[in-house]
Amino acid sequence: MALFQKSFTDIYDNYVDKIYRFVFLKVNSKVIAQDLTSETFTRTLEYLKRNPDVQIENMQAFLYRTARNIVTDYYRQKSRQDVSLEYESEEIVNREVPESARPDRIAAQGEQMAKIQTALANMAGESADVVMWHYIEDMSIKEIANILDRPEGTIRVMLHRGLKELRKGL
């Protein structure tokens, strides 16, 4: 198994988009997502400083777990009703400009995406995470199973149920 010497800024560059997207879809607020994403990387850095001898086998899984804990803490501290569910369409920055992401297409899809975003944020449990990771981040069942530390069969069931729940919530 090859080992890679990475500086923390490399880790940040590799994962900041993913973690931000994950957090944003859970809290539905740009400002809060920025704060919680920063907190995720800050806590991770602090952990690494405190434990210089610890080997993190899977940094992506570690960051997602940290982000999930931070989002959970956030919701514990703040009533969910206080969180704006307003859809922040300016969040979508068109970098690669695929057909589906062209501004005119985004405008047309905006309302539907807002509904999906709200439905995702309102989903209980881990099903929303599984749906996001698999369909948005293109993560395999095996990768998700590693993050949640569950058997792959369980993840498949969660994915199936999550998609069903999401459709019901729209």
Partner: protein, 221 residues
């Protein structure tokens, strides 16, 4: 919205990125401290699955997706299986309890999957030192799964056989299930879950397989 439409919409969220100025600000903050973080194997997917179970002392066996561990809280020779399937459906939990009650035969061979335990994600199956209870539990579980898989395969076979379809039309329950399977979208979902269940069974993940076949039953309800 069809499932495919929903998946297509979900994929567009991948074009969502944070403001570049905010990203740059964060990078500068972290690059100031920027200690080398040691050896980080960021590409490995290998996370020890059992590492989070606090009660475990040593893994001694694996049956049916249940890791058997020898627990310090129990007397010597008694094994505790920690079932780490907190997302199991209610149906599957109840069915596991039922199978355990049928196959146990001793008070120590019991299965506890109370709803309250989902917080920790750990439930326990306790077997005594005699391996028979473990084996009978595993066998009963496998038989139950095979029976359910067989039933769904029969329904698919009947779907393509007009004579058999007429036969099952006499059975309202099976006719209804078969009618649902004829729907292309639902039938496709069932086929995927069925393939996953068969794979899980082949891998020895019996509890995962049971949950999958129960998910199929829910779809056909």
């Amino acid at each position: 919205m069809t499932e495919n439409d929903l998946i297509a919409q979900l994929k567009t969220f991948k074009n969502m990125h944070p403001d570049q100025s905010w990203v740059d600000l964060g990078r500068s903050k972290f690059s100031e401290s920027n200690p080398k973080t040691g050896i980080l194997n960021i590409f490995s997917l290998a996370v020890p699955r059992m590492a989070a179970i606090p009660v475990m002392v040593a893994v001694v066996a694996l049956i049916g997706g249940i890791s058997l561990v020898q627990d310090a809280d129990y007397e010597e020779g008694v094994f505790v299986a920690s079932v780490r399937y907190k997302s199991l459906s209610v149906e599957t939990k109840e069915e596991l309890k039922e199978i355990a009650s049928i196959t146990s035969g001793s008070p120590q061979s019991s299965l506890s999957l109370a709803a309250g335990q989902t917080d920790t994600g750990v439930s326990t199956v306790v077997f005594d030192e005699d391996g028979d209870a473990q084996e009978s539990f595993k066998d009963a579980l496998r038989r139950r799964i095979e029976s359910k898989i067989g039933k769904v395969n029969d329904l698919f076979a009947q779907l393509e056989d007009e004579d058999l379809a007429r036969d099952i039309s006499l059975n309202p329950r099976r006719y209804e299930e078969n009618f649902k399977l004829a729907d292309a979208e639902l039938g496709g979902q069932v086929r995927i879950l069925l393939a996953d269940a068969e794979a899980a069974l082949a891998e020895g993940d019996l509890i995962g397989a049971l949950d999958l076949v129960n998910a199929i039953e829910n779809l056909l309800d």
